[in-house]
């Protein structure tokens, strides 16, 4: 058996989104770099404020998740933050987040890194932690303030945002986690060396050998082992580095637009890296009904894919209104030009 299923059933007790308020249109980035104005990968992307980073954004998403979970933060036994943009190279994001949300000191706190699937990696670890009985509740966050080199193709999409989930016993869940699966290989598609500000990408590896190969392998295995297919799910969310890849992938497996459009946020906010799949899941949970099945497939460069199936419970109706919806954050929008964006992203050298 290749599936990851804990001994004790687990689920999502609470979830919370966060997206910063600033947006830069792809056309504005193209204006500066004289890019091709046709065929933009997305419409616009989210940009963090001057006082925001992965820690502050994780704190807000975590507070939203706790409000929906209706638990005392002292009941958390682990606080894990998945990101490729932790503010410190050495010093955990998890301890600051834990302190700010009022978690106890008797917890495990750690930072996860696996490019864009660091957040779902923390979810899988949380399933094991809760499923083995080591603790009742785990906070897992996927959050990023991604950067692309000025003028690089990634600059059009590298965005900021993410979501937090609290994993706990299935009996108290708003969505039960039916099963998960993880597939990885050593693939040099995208990386950033220590102390480097911007990532590098191996052009030949980015599409087929990385994103599509890993997601296809992981989804095929997950469907075979669970005996399910696209038609068994009401909603699906895939990693979304742009608008095109996830739609192509979804169609390959027979998913329809009705199934994947709710979780497809990249056209409006860009690629939120570790945040992308959990944020899409948050948008789905905002409208899902009890009994709905949700399929989620994350991708992280380097490379690997995590797949999940969820079943929504009647708890969703009571809890989703206890924090701002994902759409409320998308609607909170202030457009900025390239000069302001360059200041927000530290692209001016001051000393």
């Amino acid at each position: 058996m290749k599936l990851l299923i804990p001994e004790k059933p687990v689920g999502i007790i609470g979830y919370g989104a966060y997206i910063p308020r600033y947006r830069i249109p792809a056309s504005e980035i193209s204006r500066i770099w004289h890019g091709d104005s046709d065929g933009m990968p997305i419409k616009e992307k989210s940009v963090p404020g001057l006082d925001e980073d992965t820690i502050t954004m994780s704190i807000e998403a975590a507070r939203n998740a706790i409000n929906r979970a209706q638990i005392d933060p002292k009941e958390l036994r682990a606080v894990w933050i998945g990101s490729e943009s932790h503010p410190y190279a050495v010093k955990p994001s998890g301890t600051v987040v834990a302190e700010a949300i009022g978690a106890s000191e008797s917890i495990s706190a750690a930072d996860f890194e696996f490019a864009c699937k660091a957040g779902t990696e923390a979810v899988i670890a949380g399933m094991g932690f809760v499923g083995s009985g080591m603790g009742d509740y785990v906070l897992a966050v996927g959050m990023d303030t991604a950067q692309g080199r000025p003028g690089d193709v990634l600059e059009y999409t590298a965005a900021a945002g993410g979501a937090a989930v609290i994993i706990g016993p299935a009996s108290n869940a708003l969505a039960v986690i039916d099963a998960a699966y993880s597939f990885v290989t050593d693939t040099p598609d995208f990386w950033r060396r220590q102390t480097q500000k911007y990532p590098e990408h191996g052009q030949r590896f980015t599409g087929e050998p990385a994103y599509f190969h890993h997601l296809e392998s992981s989804i095929e295995t997950f469907f075979a082992e669970t005996g399910t297919a696209a038609k068994d799910y009401r909603f699906a969310v895939f990693h979304q580095p742009n608008a095109k890849f996830p739609q192509k992938l979804g169609k390959e497996f027979g998913f329809t637009k009705e199934q994947f459009q709710t979780g497809l946020l990249s056209p409006m906010i860009g690629n939120t890296y570790s945040g992308a799949v959990l944020l899409g899941l948050s948008a789905i949970l905002d409208i899902a009904e009890p009994g709905d099945k949700i399929f989620a497939a994350a991708f992280g460069s380097g490379a690997g894919s995590d797949t999940f199936s969820f079943t929504v419970t009647d708890q969703i109706r009571l809890r989703r209104s206890l924090a701002p919806s994902t759409q409320a954050y998308i609607n909170r929008r202030t457009e900025i030009d390239y000069a302001v964006y360059a200041r927000h992203r530290g692209k001016y050298v001051m000393n």
Binding site: R21, D51, E52, I55, S321, A323, A328, Y329, N331, R332
Partner: protein, 135 residues
């Protein structure tokens, strides 16, 4: 604000944790262990909701050392729903003008960075316009 002093005060700075008076129920921020209303001892921790409104404000253009990166920014006296008035930066205003009585909510943000990207980053509370839309 030096790092050691900030570290001692981080509970109140990260999450607006104050005190409640066991004698007269007054909510106290910042925590000072003595009730400003009735003068008796008050050491019970109290988590503020973070909701309040702008009581007064000013815009800082010439920011002190360590804060220049975020200038210009607004500093407000925020009257918390529970009673106390706190001084804090406003953030995420976008194009919205600040006004007296504007409903705001607490967020935890970067307060100060040493600017050379080597030092410790200080986090603390600020206030922003309440997020509109469905809850």
């Amino acid at each position: 604000m030096e790092a050691p002093r900030h570290w001692r005060l981080k509970k109140q700075r990260y999450s607006l944790t104050g005190e409640v008076c066991p004698h007269c129920s007054a909510k106290i921020f910042p925590p000072r262990d003595v009730c400003p209303e009735c003068g008796q001892e008050a050491k019970t921790a109290f988590q503020f909701s973070g909701k309040g409104e702008v009581f007064s404000y000013t815009t800082i253009n010439d920011a002190p050392s360590g804060y220049q990166e975020q200038a210009p920014y607004a500093v407000a006296l925020v009257k918390l729903n529970e009673g106390p008035i706190v001084t804090a930066q406003l953030t995420d205003l976008g194009a919205e003008p600040v006004r007296i009585g504007m409903p705001v909510e607490m967020v935890t943000r970067r307060i100060k960075d040493d600017g050379n990207e080597r030092g410790v980053i200080l986090y603390g509370y600020k206030f922003r316009p309440v997020i509109a839309g469905p809850r």
